[in-house]
């Protein structure tokens, strides 16, 4: 994987998340562009760069939130592990794949966020409904954003380290 292109993607994704996402709010939730970048990387990159790339995207998002350090890094690590496990069995260009992965990884992130919000010793009062609304909005945006990113995947020079599905 070309790391310089990865960093540009990360920069744009985090920039859009802090700049554009507030205007796409619905009921306190908004689509998560950084998670979509995580899905794209995890769907196409070999296992090791994909896991590392997803974790670093989470860390970057952690730096731009007041929610607590590590929460997105951990969530995206889990999301990447799930997405990588599906690499061989999904048709990675299909919008339904994008929608499903957007929803499942959004729900993984939502569960971590809710567990964090419910931990009484952290006093981290966050809305409990919003992470799930975000998951749905992220899933809705996934076919469009991931569809566009899939058209640009040559730029990333993902090496196929093993036989890929479809």
């Amino acid at each position: 994987m070309r790391w310089i292109v990865y960093f540009i993607l990360a920069y744009v994704a985090v920039g859009l998340q802090v700049g554009l996402a507030p205007f796409l709010r619905y009921n306190d939730g908004s689509p998560n562009f950084v998670l979509l970048a995580v899905i794209f990387i995890a769907l196409n990159a070999p296992r090791e760069p994909a896991l590392l790339g997803a974790f670093m995207l989470g860390m970057l998002q952690d730096l731009m939130t007041t929610q607590g350090l590590g929460i997105y890094a951990f969530s995206y690590g889990l999301a990447a592990m799930f997405t990588i496990s599906t690499q061989e069995i999904v048709y990675r260009e299909h919008p339904l794949t994008h929608l499903t992965l957007g929803l499942v990884t959004g729900l993984i992130t939502a569960v971590v966020l809710v567990l964090h919000a419910c931990a009484p010793w952290l006093h981290a009062t966050s809305p409990l409904k919003a992470p799930f609304i975000s998951a749905i909005l992220t899933a809705a945006a996934a076919p469009f954003v991931l569809g566009a990113l899939q058209q640009m995947k040559r730029l990333f020079a993902f090496k196929s380290e093993r036989r890929r599905g479809y």
Partner: protein, 282 residues
């Protein structure tokens, strides 16, 4: 890196992230998090401008004041006169009490900062283009033309974050007030006296709202939608006391506690969509 070694490293990273997530409170995390918001300004600022443009076109806000334009113009004129009179009186008071010289138009002791973006997560905060190098400090109040925005919650050499008053971690005390027509036809602002409560605790509730959960039905008698909530909190600077926090939007029984009310308030604008804010530096 061999697969085995990478797995070890990744497992360690995930473990560290997990421990950090569930052991460090957001406040402690904030102290060790480097502030790099301004680095993302080249993408976030244009994206925000596009978002604002689309938002303004899609949701043209309906006029909330049903009065004819003439009545509003008349009222504005009377308010200008009243304002001028109060400024003169305030100047006199300042001369009498030099240590209160900072009182007055708080905008004169504020610096304008552009909003770069919002919280990348689900909390209610703004990233602004200021930094500790420009003299910004932790906990400084932040306002906008329509009232209070929040306080600086994180500050570094490459950015600052403002925790909004609508964030669930925000709390402040305030009193109610209402604009009404006086006997001489002038609009006047009156404080609403609450039974057995001088001030009320207002907490952020997310989604650009705040709530008051501590008032009983009896204490909240007389409070109506569109009443204003103004700051009355000793933890905030003296020159901000009386500043607008928001307007009452709904009053309903508190779920699970029928003797108490849940009063929902909204600021006069969507705080997470503000273009610029003023940081009170004195």
């Amino acid at each position: 890196m061999s697969a085995l070694r990478f797995h070890h490293v990744f497992f360690l990273l995930m473990l560290l992230a997990l421990v950090s997530t569930f052991s460090l409170s957001p406040e402690r995390s904030a102290k060790i998090t480097p502030q790099i918001q301004t680095l993302f300004a080249p993408i976030a600022s244009p994206a925000r401008a596009v978002g604002r443009m689309i938002s303004e076109r899609v949701s043209k806000s309906a006029s909330v004041d049903p009065r004819p334009a003439d009545a509003i113009a008349t009222e504005n004129e009377s308010l200008r006169v009243l304002n001028a009179s109060l400024i003169v009186q305030l100047e006199d008071l300042k001369r009498l009490n030099a240590d209160r010289a900072v009182l007055g138009d708080v905008r004169k002791v504020s610096k304008v900062y552009t909003v770069i973006g919002n919280d990348a997560g689900l909390r209610e905060s703004l990233s602004i283009g200021g930094s500790s190098l420009e003299g910004l400090q932790f906990d400084q109040p932040v306002i906008f033309i329509g009232g209070i925005v929040g306080r600086i919650s994180q500050i570094g050499v490459a950015g600052a974050k403002v925790q909004l008053i609508t964030d669930p971690k925000s709390a402040l005390t305030a009193t109610f007030g209402r604009f009404r027509a006086g006997e001489d036809g002038h609009t006047e602002f009156v404080h609403l006296k609450l039974a057995s409560a001088a001030t009320v605790l207002v907490q952020g509730a997310g989604n650009n709202t705040m709530v008051i959960n501590t008032l009983t039905l009896e204490q909240a008698q007389g409070i109506q939608p569109r009443d204003r909530l103004i700051l009355a909190d000793d933890a905030w600077p003296a020159n901000l006391q009386g500043y607008t926090i928001g307007e009452v939007t709904t009053i309903e029984p508190r779920p699970g506690s029928p003797l108490y009310l849940k009063i929902t308030l909204t600021p006069s604008a969507k705080l997470f969509q503000l273009k610029d804010v003023l940081v009170v530096v004195k």
